[in-house]
């Protein structure tokens, strides 16, 4: 199980144990060193006492009796460390005069004053050798190393013992403390779990630790974005339903009015309206298909080539001139002979047609629609200006949304024209901007195409 709590518990316990063991190790070596010095001093002192005491007695004894060459053995007193401490007294010829029961028969060490490390019968000994002034008697006091090791180890072990006892208690305390520390995370996950799926409001961030705050912040940002996406989706479906169903409703009602007509004139009007409605629905479907074709699909690339926007503009305006003429709208084009950019000619024609068609649609009769092309530094700027009602500042962002229509606009648009324009501008990496028209009235749409 990948649990933060377990991981923290294990690693904290491991760190504590290692630290404790290191301390014990250090204490062992430190104690060992002190014990060595203490025991060495004791060894030396014992040798001196033996030499002073036993050396003198032995000399006397040797003068009294003939020396039989057999060393006297001193029986042990029965302490458990007795067998680990030993001494030998030799004469000037190296003969063993006296030894403790724990000492071997052969000399403990070489006949040199001072300390020596020796191994006797597989056991290691620390031996101190001392000769008297006349070099007649040599005392060797030995001690098994084991004693010192045991002592140092027992000091260090005494330190380790509490660790064994406290480790489970520590484990419990750490477990609880980590659990407490992680409680804000649990609270947040609880809050998320119990949430209504439609509730995308930010999570409560009060009293959250700094370590968790970034997570919460990221979560809230995500929730916000999700909410926005859902909201725009909801808006889209509502707008789409309205824009698609209203023309159908109009068709159905006009057809029923025609069937129930009380006079020939009423029937003709209703049928005329029906035809207008069908034309409107046809236009809407055409726009929908255009938008669908412009939708980026995986793996498809837009064919780009050198194309002359000025030529495309002339062609599109020629096509739309009758519509302008019908409304007595003055339609004009100000453009250089050629303005070449890299793009898709079909798409650019659709963009121009939508912009100019929109301008003619929304401009009242006897108005004015002007199209201008400017070759500027590094770009070609297309401007379509009309003398229509314009678009209020606060609506300018939303008019590019699919099916969005300015409320109160009487003209029968599809609500898709500017979405199409935006999509084509995006494909051409062109920037699109809406502004007031001439003298603050009407609308000016400008599209700036990069030259390369």
């Amino acid at each position: 199980m990948n649990s933060l709590r377990t991981k923290l518990l294990v690693s904290l316990l491991a760190i504590i144990s290692v630290a404790w063991l290191a301390t014990a190790g250090f204490i062992y070596y430190d104690a060992h060193h002190e014990i060595d010095e203490l025991f060495d001093a004791q060894l030396a002192q014992s040798a001196h006492v033996l030499l002073a005491q036993a050396g003198h007695d032995l000399k006397d004894a040797r003068e009294d009796e003939d020396d039989d060459g057999i060393a006297t053995e001193i029986a042990g007193a029965g302490h458990k460390y007795e067998r680990k401490i030993a001494f030998q007294i030799h004469d000037e010829h190296g003969r063993l005069l006296l030894r403790s029961a724990s000492a071997p028969v052969e000399p403990l060490a070489r006949r040199e004053n001072g300390y020596a490390e020796v191994t006797i019968a597989g056991k290691s000994w620390r031996v101190y050798t001392l000769k008297d002034a006349g070099n007649e008697i040599l005392v060797q006091v030995g001690e098994r190393h084991e004693v010192r090791n045991e002592l140092a180890a027992s000091v260090a072990l005494r330190l380790l013992l509490p660790l064994g006892v406290t480790l489970p208690v520590l484990a419990l305390l750490i477990w609880l403390a980590v659990g407490r520390g992680l409680s804000p995370l649990r609270r947040i996950s609880c809050e998320v779990e119990q949430r209504d799926p439609s509730n995308l409001a930010p999570l409560e961030g009060h009293g959250v630790p700094v370590e968790i705050a970034p997570l919460l912040h990221a979560l809230n940002t995500l929730l916000g974005r999700l909410d926005q996406a859902l909201e725009s989706e909801r808006r889209f479906t509502a707008d789409a339903a309205h824009e698609l169903r209203t023309p159908l409703a109009a068709l159905k009602i006009q057809a029923q009015v025609a069937r129930r007509a009380e006079s020939e004139a009423q029937r003709v009007t209703a049928l005329d309206n029906l035809i207008v409605g069908v034309d409107r629905a046809t236009h809407l479907i055409g726009q929908l298909l255009t938008l669908a074709r412009l939708e980026p699909t995986a793996g498809s690339t837009v064919m780009m080539a050198s194309c002359d926007v000025a030529a495309i503009a002339r062609q599109v305006l020629a096509g739309l001139a009758p519509a302008a003429l019908e409304k007595q709208i003055e339609l004009e084009l100000a453009s250089p002979a050629a303005a070449t950019i890299r793009g898709n000619a079909d798409m650019l024609a659709i963009l121009l047609r939508n912009l100019v068609d929109n301008a003619i649609r929304y401009t009242p009769g006897h108005g004015r629609v002007s199209v201008s092309l400017l070759v500027e530094q590094g770009r070609v700027r297309l401007e379509v200006t009309d003398s229509g009602p314009g678009i209020p500042e606060q609506e300018r962002q939303r008019v590019f949304d699919r099916f969005y229509r300015i409320l109160g606009s009487d003209a029968a648009g599809s609500g898709l024209g500017l979405s199409i324009v935006k999509r084509i501008a995006d494909v051409h990496a062109a920037s699109l901007a809406l502004a007031d028209g001439e003298h603050g009235a009407g609308l000016r749409v400008s599209v700036a195409f990069p030259l390369n």
């Binding site: 509502a238 309205h242 698609l244 209203t246 409703a249 159905k252 129930r260 009007t269 309206n273 409107r280």
Partner: protein, 219 residues
């Protein structure tokens, strides 16, 4: 019956207006929420047909304003939004009925009549007054079991008087039932229609209150 139609789409609005006129209603048509508010402040309507996706003042806001100002005129909503949440929302904000686009003109008429009937406190679809029997759905008028031919305007005046039986209606109030905006009002038309009605249905049915108006007694 004078209705207010609030619809921003020109083709749909025109169709509904003509269709409802064919069904014998007088229809005033406004194209945005603000105009609807003004119209509702200015005159009394028997019912409002309201599109929710309205310019200037949304249908929902208009509805809230209407109910908030204590006006209980029946409201029938026309909308393209068909989710349950939308329908619940529409009815909860004060609408009495709901039609989803595209809808049927006959169904719209039937629903309007049902709403008017309920608003008039009647449960039965037929209006019965003594020996007189009116079917608002077919606009058929029967007197003692025999059909009577009435012109649309005579019918409208009779219906208004019967709906308000026991209450007097002034000449102006009756004119309101006859003419929508832009219709030319003939100066003594109401008197002429009343005269015809008395000839066809008997002189006792409609009483004249001098200086006040006309009255049909409660059955």
């Amino acid at each position: 019956m004078r209705l207010l139609l609030v619809e921003d789409d020109p083709l749909l609005g025109d169709g509904v207006r003509v269709g409802l006129q064919q069904s014998g209603f007088v229809v005033d048509w406004v194209k945005d929420g603000q105009a609807a508010k003004l119209a509702l402040q200015a005159g009394a309507y028997a019912l409002v047909v309201l599109d929710l996706g309205l310019p200037r003042l949304s249908g929902t806001d208009l509805l809230k304003w209407l109910r908030g100002s204590g006006n209980d005129t029946p409201v029938l909503i026309l909308t393209a939004r068909d989710t349950v949440a939308d329908r619940v929302n529409g009815l909860d904000s004060g609408a009495d009925d709901y039609l989803i686009k595209p809808f049927d003109l006959d169904e719209l008429g039937a629903r309007i009549r049902a709403l008017l009937r309920r608003a008039g406190g009647r449960a039965a679809p037929l209006i019965v007054h003594g020996q007189l029997e009116i079917d608002p759905a077919t606009r058929q008028v029967m007197l003692a079991g025999k059909p009577v031919e009435l012109s649309p305007r005579e019918y409208a005046i009779l219906l208004a008087l019967l709906e308000g039986a026991g209450r007097s209606l002034s000449r102006e109030q009756l004119e309101q039932c006859l003419y929508g905006w832009g219709d030319e009002v003939e100066s003594n038309a109401v008197e002429v229609h009343i005269h015809h009605l008395r000839k066809k249905l008997g002189a006792e049915l409609i009483r004249t209150l001098r200086g006040v108006g006309y009255l049909v007694d409660k059955a």
